[in-house]
Symmetry: C2
Subunit: 470 residues, 2 copies
């Protein structure tokens, strides 16, 4: 074996043992030369070989990285574009959602139906230290002054990240909220009146449907591609026909499909909505959980008219339980701030101060890299388990981020019956009808792959597969 | 001077130097005998003398306590019962409220217009330690499991206090919220539909008016006695005429009047509302801030039908900035829990765990005693300042708890003009029209006495008095 082949083998072994993970940067040629004592030519040859094998990939002006995993050829096929009814619907989905969520809260159940990734994936100890430290330094008057729109230092940190994402937002236009859920609700309330129509994806995140239901709004479900999001043509038609008050989209790694709207499509959606003067509520809580080379663009980035109300959160990517999210509502910032003041006044100081401290210290991006890598490996494991255990004819999405898989069982399967049967065996799932105002998607389910994969989860997938066959 | 006279004088000196404060317990006769070396007869004689002078008071089976301060005879007279219009009104008060609150947030202003007491009155260091300790012990899975209705340990602590107050509530019927503001909003939402009428006090807490405005409800303002709260006769008439969906009352130390509804009247209100099947939203955020011998009764205590939705908070009496309140919504508990889930999902874990830890450790009641004593002294100082500096014909309430004084200037005075003029001189106040759907109370203001009294505050009262005269 030549020297460069040996070097390549060494690195490939590290990758296969997961000591190096997808997205990790390889040592530079200079580092290999200095510490490993090999010539630049040897390093280059080794890296070229690994690149040819698909193990690593080069990024211009940045170096070599462990390549993203390729899905095996026997992954299940993807579902088709949805075909929702064209009418607006009064929403009545809450009771079903609460039933399912209530059942899924059993701690001992296998959490495929959960809305959260494993809490073990988060830097809770570091956050505990930041919380303690922030509370020791607390200025008593800040407990009175830090009402909506929220703590200054935290809003500056969030503004910094908007700047890095190419969508600069002044800190004054950011409203800190009790998680993204409150941000989305306040944005929706700021731009709608009871009876208005609101465009949502099909399938849609059930909390969006519940928000419409609570505010007396009608849902217009728009055809959505499980790979790249809401269909532009269907959106244009719905805008003409329904004159909606708002459009609520999860632009990156939508819940439940996991679809990622490409940047160009995001831009087209933003421009189309702007021509109709319709605000876009951009639910972007999974945007940081990308498996690709860089963070997906924000639709907000293409906003020329202050019509994109971007909502984010730390709950899914950094600090579950801290309940800190935010809205960047563009021209409606003042209205959202006032709604926040009059519905819940302010957000918890300990949470706000701890996160402001954490973000200022650095380490967030390192944590995110580990989190993404873990989620990507878990996605693969779950996709393969679907292929192995589920009935022939099953389809599944191939999410490029987030932690949800959308599974379409063969026609005739009953996801609600499956949910009940699985729960009896200690397994929670989220059945498709939760994600539709008309309770469609009766043969679909959302599975959560946000937990460290192990034999117990694999067994649970086998049980689900058997139940689905029956 | 006889021995018992000398002993009495010693104690009276301690009281006048505030070493002993209203509500503090005096050493027992046995303690005086053992440590001070005087006979029981001497102690009794001294205590009888002090009791006769009104310095101390005896409580059956409990001992002697420093008496509550009596207001001097030259305190301003009290305002009359309000006489609101009898019609329901569409509310449009938010813009005014936000203008006034925005102006009052200037940290350097004298905070007579503030809604909060001084943060220096709270055990922030102790809370910081509890927060740090709770975060170190955090169970990662609790960040997923502690959704609405909230952290178990905290709900058990709150249930304990309900039991002590004679209104037992199972922990399962308590929903933790983002401050009382969210609790009240969720309760209101659970029992109303847009267009419904809701009964409120006159004047009413502006956040109640804003909540009605946001939900498209109509306000029926009911005549209210500045000493003992809403008038029963007026309430009965309003129930007959308006068939309201709910009644929202601050039963103890109402904001802005400071009035305390006596126990018997609370019971009468609860029974009257129950006969009409109208839920009572009981906003009780100031109930712990009583200056009397014991906590005022909860209206909830008289609830036979699960129709009283009691809302409390730690923001005003223990932990400002932690944003932890709760609702105990009786028969509507499930509905409120579900609304909480779908509007903001859960409350911040660091705040919930820290408060659960604090309450379990003990020390809350000791803190409350100090807080009440400070607030009572500050009330006296402010009342006397009103008497000294404000124009003849000024009236003022005499709150027996809380930290708000309601001042009625002579007819023709313009509180909104006064607010603007005061702000230019660095003094915030809350003008009367904020507290009325029809912007009545044009010659009234709410003053906050929740801050340690000093020469600067006294001077600011003199400035206000001069401006009011002009």
């Amino acid at each position: 074996m030549k020297l460069y082949e040996a070097l390549a083998q060494e690195i490939e072994d590290l990758v296969s043992r997961q000591a190096l993970r997808p997205g990790d940067r390889l040592p530079s040629v200079r580092q290999q030369q200095a510490r490993r004592g090999v010539s630049p030519a040897t390093v280059f040859q080794a890296y070229y070989l690994l690149e040819a094998r698909g193990v690593i990939e080069s990024r211009p002006r940045s170096g070599y990285y462990v390549a993203r995993r390729r899905l095996p050829d026997d992954a299940p096929p993807e579902p088709h574009v949805s075909q929702p009814a064209f009418d607006a619907a009064v929403v009545d989905v809450s009771a079903l959602v609460f039933d399912v969520l209530g059942a899924a809260r059993n701690r001992s159940a296998i959490p495929f139906g959960s809305a959260f990734p494993s809490p073990l994936l988060f830097p809770l100890e570091r956050l505990a230290r930041e919380t303690a430290s922030a509370m020791r330094r607390l200025d008593p008057w800040s407990t009175v002054a830090d009402l909506a729109p929220g703590n200054d230092a935290l809003r500056r940190q969030i503004a910094l990240r908007y700047q890095l994402d190419g969508a600069p937002v002044p800190p004054d236009d950011i409203v800190i909220t009790n998680g993204a859920m409150e941000a989305l609700n306040l944005c929706l309330q700021a731009v709608t009146r009871p009876g208005d129509a609101v465009l949502v994806e099909s399938p849609a995140f059930y909390a969006a449907l519940q928000a419409l239901e609570r505010l007396g709004l009608r849902a217009v479900e728009v055809a959505t591609d499980p790979r790249d999001g809401m269909e532009i043509g269907a959106l244009a038609q719905a805008l003409e026909r329904h004159r909606p008050a708002a459009c609520w989209l999860m632009t990156s790694f939508q819940n439940p499909l996991g679809c990622l709207m490409p940047a160009g499509k995001k831009q087209a959606v933003v421009e189309l909505l702007a021509r109709h003067q319709v605000p876009l509520i951009e639910d972007d809580v999974y945007g940081e959980l990308y498996f690709g080379a860089r963070r997906p663009a924000l639709a907000k980035r293409y906003d020329q008219h202050g019509l994109v109300m971007h909502c984010g959160s730390f709950s899914k990517c950094l600090a579950p339980g801290f309940r800190i999210g935010w809205a960047s509502p563009g021209r409606h910032a003042k209205a959202v701030e006032r709604l926040k003041l009059s519905t819940s006044l302010a957000c918890a100081m300990p949470s706000q101060l701890a996160l402001a401290g954490y973000l200022a210290q650095g380490g967030y991006d390192r944590h995110l890299r580990q989190l993404r890598s873990a989620l990507e490996a878990q996605r693969d494991a779950m996709l393969m388990a679907v292929a192995r255990h589920f009935p022939a004819g099953t389809r599944a999405t191939r999410p490029e981020g987030g932690y949800f898989l959308w599974v379409e069982l063969p026609a005739g399967a009953d996801a609600l019956a499956l949910q009940r049967a699985a729960l009896e065996r200690g397994i929670s799932i989220a059945p498709g009808p939760m994600f539709s105002a008309r309770r469609e998607f009766g043969n679909c389910l959302r599975l959560n792959y946000g937990h460290l994969w192990n034999a117990e989860l694999e067994d649970a997938m086998a049980v689900l597969g058997r139940l689905a066959r029956a």
